[in-house]
């Protein structure tokens, strides 16, 4: 394969990743391969053509808006971080496992901002979990040693906020939850 042919393939891969991101989808190697063939870019022969992963690495190096994400399944997924941010992509990836989805989002928020997050956040897009699913996930976490850092605090209105004790002490989480739930509504 000539350098020009490689470049054409990389461009096709980049376009396919962006197209998927624009529709809110992460894309894996297999689908990318199918896309290449469907779009008639070339008859991609895995035996004769360069390694797909090397092609993808070259594509990402050439297009800085593109990124790879290791899925919770271990698979490598691709997205355009301009059209589908890392945060949003991670949420989409974890949607198949409410337990991981909730735990990782709670941990990230506790570590990064830092803040606890209202439990009803998970009922809304893009999480779209039912109350029953959230409750089941929290029960599951309570019984697993892997998720013992996930805790909650209740505000003066009875609202529940989740946080990770790895990153937030309980009194601070309670303070931030109260501020979010009532403090800012009373302090315009």
């Amino acid at each position: 394969m000539t350098g020009e042919e490689r470049k054409t393939l990389c461009e096709a891969l980049a376009e396919a990743i962006r197209e998927a991101s624009a529709t809110g989808m992460l894309i894996n190697k297999g689908i990318l391969l199918t896309n290449l063939k469907e779009h008639g870019i070339r008859d991609y022969d895995e035996q004769e053509s360069p390694d797909m992963e090397a092609l993808l690495a070259q594509t990402l190096a050439a297009h800085h808006d593109l990124a790879a994400l290791t899925s919770i399944t271990g698979e490598m997924l691709y997205h355009s971080s301009t059209l589908l941010s890392r945060t949003y992509a991670s949420i989409l990836d974890r949607k198949s496992s409410p337990v991981i989805l909730i735990a990782e989002e709670v941990r990230r928020n506790s570590a990064e901002y830092p803040r606890p997050i209202p439990i009803d956040l998970f009922n809304r897009a893009p999480f779209d979990l039912t109350t029953e699913q959230v409750e089941a996930a929290l029960k599951c976490m309570a019984m697993s040693s892997e998720f013992q850092d996930i805790s909650f605090t209740t505000t003066s209105t009875g609202a529940i906020y989740l946080f990770s004790i790895r990153h937030l002490e309980r009194p601070y989480a309670a303070f931030l939850a109260e501020r979010c739930d009532t403090g800012l509504l009373l302090n315009p």
């Binding site: 945060t87 901002y113 803040r115 897009a125 601070y172 303070f175 931030l176 509504l185 315009p188």
Partner: protein, 705 residues
């Protein structure tokens, strides 16, 4: 030279209501060194209103002033500062300003004026007719006694559709210190309505057929406007959405960027669905919905649209339509306002059935807006409602007013959160009916005096949120530790400063905020996490100084300090930075006067220090540190007994705050012992004559200018 300068309309209109004389000043010639807005306001009060003047004296003046950027295409430019001696400032009236948005600022500029100075006192109710060069003092006896809405309607009908009317309601007429002037239906300046009332000035109607000339390169101007739009967030410059979005790396449930695809303005006819990209510059107006932010998701179906000021795409005033209130309370089913104005009714109640985002809360807001925005009652940034709450629940009201008056109120409705209670309390405040309503309308300080309650009872109560001089905190240590405290010590009413809190609440992760802080204020340590405060450092003092200077700059340029400064942005590619030189770039292009960020900040500092000098003169006191720059006791307490600098506590340390004031004074060039600007500082700012006047009154450190 003066005629070539852009931005400014060019003239300041002066109306003497005692003599009927109408005159004009050249803005650039006389006021250029203080820009406009509060700058002109402070200068007029300094030069023309003698110390010891009372707010309702004919000798007091009220200055409606906008700035060089008002009425242009700059986003968020619709502000008018209304400066006067404040009747709610206790124990003595001092200079302060109310700030209104709406369309008044632009119309005043289009009529040819940067400011309007009203002096004297009419012997009968009048209103001001301003149509370009034609200015008349007109009879307002037929309007006296009517509310803001009717006054606005009648004057609008008389002047024509393209007029704007700023009017007072019955509260202002009755000299209630807690009263507003309001334009464009919902845009009010608090605390100044009664000063207009004392002058028998019911309203100001303005119509202008002119425009604002931009002196600089037009394409560069257009590029800068587009750039500014690109770095806008939502209301209060919250730069991330409140929900995860594909185009955003960050989100924050406390963000006022609530507009999301799939939501709709349900009460519009037909309903308007929010669609398309959140970052599309033509969709910025979809981001803010303060009805939803404060009242929850239910408010979407009641939203007609957002409303706002000239040139501002944020539209922070939410127009709500709630049909149930027409049948239930006999009021209009439509109302609009933002923040404290939107929450006027809800804020009266300690408890509401269903909570802060319930249907009852929504109805309380509708009733509150219906009444307060017509009668022209000011809430003193929520202190009015907190005063009533404290006085009622600690039994003071029952002890202080007669039983006949006490039983005339439905306290059961008050306790149960029934909006019907608002029909009993708000009109009486506006009409000064009865001991309770009269006292509440005085403002906290004079109320406490009137009822012989020591101020300490208020300053020790965290829930009361009272700060000093009859006014509450406004984004103090609960939002921004020592920086918030310093800012709250500086003014003669609540500080109204948002430069600091717009950054703190912008929604970005702390690490990103610290990165930006290092770029702007020289150290990541200039910013703490909320409720995770560290001991004072010089960088925080620098940020406090910057915040205050930028506030005065915005107030004097016609820009909105509820939105700016714009030092953070939603743009990932910029590392979420905004632009710290936006104001000076716009000012340079508009006026044609090439002015650097540092040079414009110097003018902002001049304006701020003029306010300081006025306060020193009118208090006849140089020791600001011990007599003015005070903080309430509650900031040194924690309801749970937590120690200072404990995560989750906003408790401050007295020694640390003393250190904070030392650092701040030193940065400002003010004497540490007194907090009074030194002669060198006045000289550095071109205020030598001010220093001389203060020296003559023995109010200058060192005694000689």
């Amino acid at each position: 030279m003066a005629t070539r300068i852009g931005g400014f309309a060019g003239r300041v209109l002066r109306v003497d209501l005692s003599t009927g004389k109408i005159s004009f000043d050249d803005t650039v010639e006389r006021y250029r060194e203080v820009l406009g807005g509060t700058g002109i306001g402070y200068k007029v009060i300094w030069e023309e209103v003698p110390a010891g003047t009372a707010p309702f004296d004919a000798a007091n003046k009220i200055v409606f002033a906008t700035g060089a950027l008002a009425g242009t295409g700059v986003p968020c430019n619709g502000r008018t500062a209304v400066t006067t001696l404040f009747p709610s400032c206790w124990p003595r009236p001092l200079v302060a300003s109310g700030h209104m948005g709406g369309q008044f600022a632009a119309k005043l500029k289009y009529a040819g004026y940067d400011a309007l100075i009203v002096e004297g006192k009419s012997d009968k109710p009048v209103w001001l007719f301003i149509r370009d060069g034609r200015v008349e003092i007109r009879d307002a006896r037929h309007l006296w006694g009517t509310g803001i809405r009717r006054t606005t309607l009648e004057i609008s009908q008389e002047m024509g559709q393209d007029s704007v009317v700023a009017a007072i309601g019955q509260a202002g007429e009755n000299l209630v210190p807690l009263s507003v002037v309001m334009n464009s239906v919902s845009h009010s300046a608090g605390g100044v309505g009664a000063v207009m009332g004392a002058k028998n000035l019911k309203a100001i109607g303005v119509q202008g057929g002119g425009s604002v000339r931009i002196a600089g390169d037009k394409s560069e101007w257009e590029r800068l406007v587009k750039f500014h739009l690109s770095i806008l967030g939502s209301n209060n410059q919250h730069v991330v959405p409140s929900f995860p979005d594909p185009h955003s790396e960050y989100y924050n449930p406390t963000s006022r960027w609530v507009g999301a695809p799939g939501r709709s303005w349900g009460a519009a006819d037909p309903p308007v669905e929010i669609n398309g990209g959140l970052y599309d510059l033509n969709r910025i107006a979809f981001r803010a919905n303060n009805g939803v932010f404060y009242l929850g998701e239910q408010a979407w179906k009641h939203t007609v649209r957002g409303n706002g000021c000239t040139g501002c795409p944020i539209r922070c005033h939410t127009i709500l339509k709630v049909p149930s209130v027409a049948a239930k309370y006999g009021i209009q089913d439509i109302a609009q306002n933002t923040c404290a104005g939107l929450l006027f009714g809800r804020s009266f109640f300690k408890c509401l059935p269903g909570g802060l985002k319930s249907q009852t809360a929504l109805e309380a807001c509708m009733v509150g807006m219906h009444m307060a925005d017509d009668l022209g009652v000011w809430c003193n940034y929520g202190q009015l409602q907190r005063d009533l709450m404290k006085l009622y629940y600690d039994g003071t009201i029952k002890a202080k007013i007669g039983s006949k008056e006490y039983t005339s109120y439905s306290w059961d409705k008050y306790e149960s959160g029934d909006p019907l209670f608002l029909f009993e309390i708000i009109p009486r405040i506006a009409m000064r009916q009865g001991e309770l309503a009269h006292s509440l309308g005085l403002g906290s300080g004079y109320l406490l005096d009137h009822w012989s309650i020591p101020e300490e009872v208020w300053t020790q109560d965290l829930a009361c949120a009272y700060w000093k001089l009859g006014h509450p905190k406004h984004h103090a240590n609960e939002d921004d530790g020592q920086c918030g405290v310093i800012i709250n010590t500086q003014y003669n009413r609540d500080s109204q400063c948002h430069s600091h809190v717009n950054f703190i609440r912008n929604g970005l992760p702390l690490a990103v905020q610290k990165k930006l802080a290092a770029e702007i204020w020289g150290s990541p340590d200039s910013v703490d996490g909320v409720g995770d405060y560290t001991p004072m450092n010089i960088h925080k003092a620098r940020r406090a100084r910057w915040s205050l200077v930028r506030k005065e700059l915005h107030d004097s340029l016609g820009l909105c300090n509820w939105m700016g400064p714009w030092v953070a942005s939603p743009i990932k590619e910029r590392g979420y930075s905004g632009d710290d030189s936006l104001e000076s770039r716009f000012y340079s292009l508009a006026t044609g006067l090439q002015t650097s960020r540092e040079e414009l900040d110097l003018i902002g500092e001049r304006i701020f220090v003029l306010h300081r000098a006025l306060t020193i003169r009118d208090m006849s006191e140089m020791d600001m540190r011990n007599h003015h720059d005070l903080a309430p006791d509650w900031i040194y307490q924690d309801p749970n007994g937590a120690q200072v600098f404990t995560r989750g506590s906003i408790r401050m340390d007295p020694q640390d705050i003393a250190k904070a004031m030392d650092m701040f004074y030193e940065l400002m060039g003010w004497e540490k012992a007194t907090g009074a600007p030194t002669a060198d500082t006045y000289a550095r700012l071109g205020l030598q004559s001010v220093a001389q006047a203060l020296a003559a009154k023995k109010l200058l450190p060192g005694g000689k200018p």
